[in-house]
């Protein structure tokens, strides 16, 4: 116990992140089930309106701030980055330990939602003036959760950017890095630049609510749109903080399991990853298309938003292209990765109408938007993360999970997400608004809502099987060996399973023609 609490080993820090993220995921997932049950029929159901709003708040905040971002950056980066670049640890191991515990405190603070009187009911966006002047909920818990997890992210960014720049194995050039390392670098550059803006936005909210300032109070010269601009200035790039490492993990799984190199590596890195980082910071107004901003601003951001399709398209081409003439073996991790090629299309292409101001005038704040971001940010990223957990499970535990159970739960999961969210696209286009406790004005949508609820419970079964598989595999799985997938990447070729302290029995050096994809 003590060696886990005081650990500065990046692998243990990574596993601490993993435990935290899966806990947040499980509780936020239970909230999703409660939400879906509430929507089973028109009219009030199992929850009161306030309970429903608190459940929505927790689901959104915990999934994004507690699960997706720390799962794809905190956990994956911590566990994999030092080993992929051939380092014995990160640049600042003790800061790394601080950042995981800040994150854990953030999770605890978020979980207090279920204990305190008047929990926050302000959605994960915390729009003012509702969150600052009108709610009876304790918005401070939301603000401090963002502060803790944000601070943790900033420390993580500095740490990993330093690690990637200064701790690569002797001889390892920029174009020899694992693709995943590049996506993490991109994600952490975004975190470093934009998290402070989010922290500023919610701090102003805090001051408005508890200290009588008037940053967002129009009667005293404030402006409610200031908050929305600041919030989305971070929170849109945050989507790429989630998506980029997801694509990176998918690329590692696909190249390893098809024993291929990355298709057009340099274009995917310098055009795809860095193109997304660059363009992704100039599109946030598409979250404010119906907020009454100047028309010219909305048109400008429509163009930048549409052009995001270029770097994302290049990344997708590289993902698909890496299968070309490959030698594909279907592990559970690879099944998750393969399904993501479909999910990323469904999620990505449904984003294109939402880039267009004129179509969004109808689609904004409907189930169409909700289904879109669940596919691209929620499901694609979750499937990539789950694929990654399966893929590196033998490395982390030294043991093997059950492929049969893994594949059964994958199939259920894939069916579940599509049954849940595809009907919601349909009623979204018909006009079903988000965040509705009741839909008495649209009783015709009840059928689609019920299909979605059934789908949610299929996902729940799949998740339960997945967790059983991991826990059983970690305790009683058969030994996996050092490199069960036959990967060429350093964490497989040079480190034991599980790797000991310092990662490598002998520090690796790489030659000029080495790449992690030499098969």
């Amino acid at each position: 116990m003590k060696e886990w609490i005081f650990t500065t080993d990046h692998k243990r820090v990574g596993i601490l992140y993993l435990i935290g993220t899966l806990a947040a995921f499980a509780v936020a997932g239970l909230m999703a089930l409660a939400i879906r049950l509430e929507l089973w029929e028109v009219g009030p159901g199992i929850l009161s309106p306030n309970q429903y709003n608190v459940a929505l708040y927790f689901h959104g905040a915990a999934m994004i701030l507690g699960f997706l971002i720390p799962g794809l950056t905190g956990f994956l980066a911590n566990y994999l980055i030092p080993m992929m670049i051939g380092a014995h640890d990160v640049s600042f191991p003790r800061i790394n330990a601080l950042s995981v515990w800040l994150y854990w405190f953030g999770i605890v603070l978020a979980l207090l939602t279920f204990v305190i009187p008047n929990p926050p009911d302000i959605m994960w966006t915390g729009y003012v003036p509702y969150a600052s002047q009108y709610t009876s909920g304790n918005s401070a818990f939301y603000v401090f959760t963002v502060h803790l997890i944000g601070f943790s992210s900033i420390l993580g960014s500095v740490n990993f950017l330093c690690t990637i720049i200064y701790m690569r194995a002797p001889g390892m050039g920029w174009n020899q890095l694992n693709f995943f390392v590049w996506t993490i670098a991109g994600a952490f550059v975004i975190q470093l630049i934009f998290v402070p803006v989010l922290a500023a936005a919610v701090t102003l909210l805090l001051l408005d609510k508890y200290f009588g300032t008037a940053f967002f109070v129009p009667d005293s010269g404030g402006d409610v749109l200031l908050y929305q601009n600041l919030f989305w200035f971070y929170s849109h790039p945050a989507v790429y903080v989630i998506l980029l490492p997801a694509v990176g993990a998918l690329m590692e799984i696909i190249t390893t399991m098809s024993r291929n190199q990355v298709f057009n590596y340099k274009v995917a890195v310098y055009g795809g990853v860095w193109g997304v980082v660059l363009l992704g910071s100039d599109v946030w107004v598409h979250h404010l298309y119906t907020s009454g901003l100047a028309d010219w601003l909305r048109i400008g951001m429509m163009v930048t938003t549409l052009i995001i399709s270029v770097p994302v398209g290049l990344l997708t081409i590289s993902l698909v292209g890496s299968l070309y003439r490959g030698s594909i073996q279907y592990s559970t991790g690879m099944l998750y990765a393969a399904s993501c090629l479909f999910l990323i299309l469904l999620g990505g292409l449904t984003g294109i109408p939402l880039a267009m101001t004129s179509l969004t005038l109808h689609l904004a704040e409907t189930y169409f938007v909700m289904a879109h971001f669940h596919f691209i940010m929620g499901i694609t990223a979750t499937f990539a993360l789950f694929g990654a957990i399966y893929h590196w499970f033998p490395k982390m535990t030294g043991k093997m999970y059950s492929e049969t159970l893994g594949k059964i739960s994958f199939v259920l999961n894939f069916i579940g997400v599509n049954v849940t969210f595809i009907p919601l696209f349909g009623i979204g286009v018909e006009g079903m608004p988000r965040r509705y406790y009741d839909y008495a004005m649209f009783p015709q949508f009840q059928g689609a809502q019920q299909i979605a609820t059934v789908g949610a419970f299929i996902i729940a079964v799949a998740m339960a099987l997945t967790f059983v598989n991991w826990i059983h595999g970690a305790i009683a799985g058969p030994p996996a060996g050092k490199n069960p997938w036959g990967s060429a990447s350093l964490e497989w070729t040079h480190a034991d399973s599980p790797p000991g302290p310092g990662n490598f029995p002998t520090p690796p050096t790489v030659s000029e023609d080495w790449t992690p994809y030499n098969y």
Partner: protein
């Protein structure tokens, strides 16, 4: 050589896209035009999606591992090929983006340009109902009523009553938090917030009733903040307005 040909083609597509919306649409109803742009969009992304999906599925099914020692045969690309695989897709995506942007822009201009002589109604959103003020000072409103179990029993107030055939412009603001006014049948919505005035317009061509509802989260009864747009023939509207003015 191939790159050059493709870029010329892509450029031509982009220019075509800009050539189309030369004359501004003089729409009096956004719904059919929105539906048209939506159909174009669906076909457009459907084709892109189908190409990617077919290629992915073909690769996934045909390049399975045949023997244990087998490795992938993807070769390092030459500089020219590498560049082609960057620029050609980029040109195609960009051309498509500009085509869609142009289509969307055209509709957008009409959505945001209020026609001359539109009938102006002031809308105020509040937690959790709507108030409508008419040019002659008459007021209308809507509040959803529900019983103690939370079951909706009806709507109090006449809601947004308008005359058939006259374009309507809504000047909107909020008395408290951010709301959003959404009429799904007319494909329009815009937020209402304290301290700013926003607008929407639509043309009620046919008599009938349409749902409007709040689409920006505003607290406990966010989902109970809806009512009906009632489109009446001009004489009936005049009679209704007169009866409201006397109140």
């Amino acid at each position: 050589m191939r790159i050059k040909a493709f870029s010329v083609m892509a450029g031509a597509v982009a220019m075509l896209a800009f050539a189309f919306p030369g004359e501004a649409l003089a729409l009096n109803d956004h719904t059919p035009e929105w539906d048209k742009v939506w159909m174009h969009l669906l076909i457009d992304v459907g084709v892109i999606g189908a190409i990617f999906l077919v290629v992915s599925i073909y690769f996934l099914l045909s390049y399975t591992r045949k023997s244990e020692g087998e490795v992938g045969k993807l070769k390092q690309m030459s500089f020219g090929n590498s560049l082609a695989w960057a620029l050609i897709p980029a040109f195609i995506f960009m051309a498509d983006d500009f085509y869609l942007a142009a289509q969307g822009w055209n509709l957008w201009n009409s959505q945001r340009r209020v026609p001359e002589g539109a009938y102006e109604i002031q809308v105020t959103g509040r937690m959790w109902g709507w108030d409508f003020a008419y040019p002659n000072g008459a007021m209308s409103s809507s509040d959803v009523e529900y019983d103690e179990t939370g079951l909706v029993t009806g709507i109090d107030g006449d809601g947004l009553v308008v005359a058939q055939g006259t374009p309507v412009v809504l000047r909107m603001s909020s008395a408290d938090v951010v709301h959003s006014f959404f009429i799904p049948d007319f494909r329009i919505k815009e937020d209402l917030m304290p301290g700013r005035i926003t607008y929407l317009w639509f043309n009620p061509k046919d008599a009938g009733e349409h749902v409007y509802t709040c689409t920006e989260f505003c607290g406990l009864d966010h989902s109970r903040m809806y009512g009906k747009v009632k489109i009446l023939p001009q004489p009936e509207f005049d009679a209704w307005l007169a009866s409201k003015s006397e109140e």
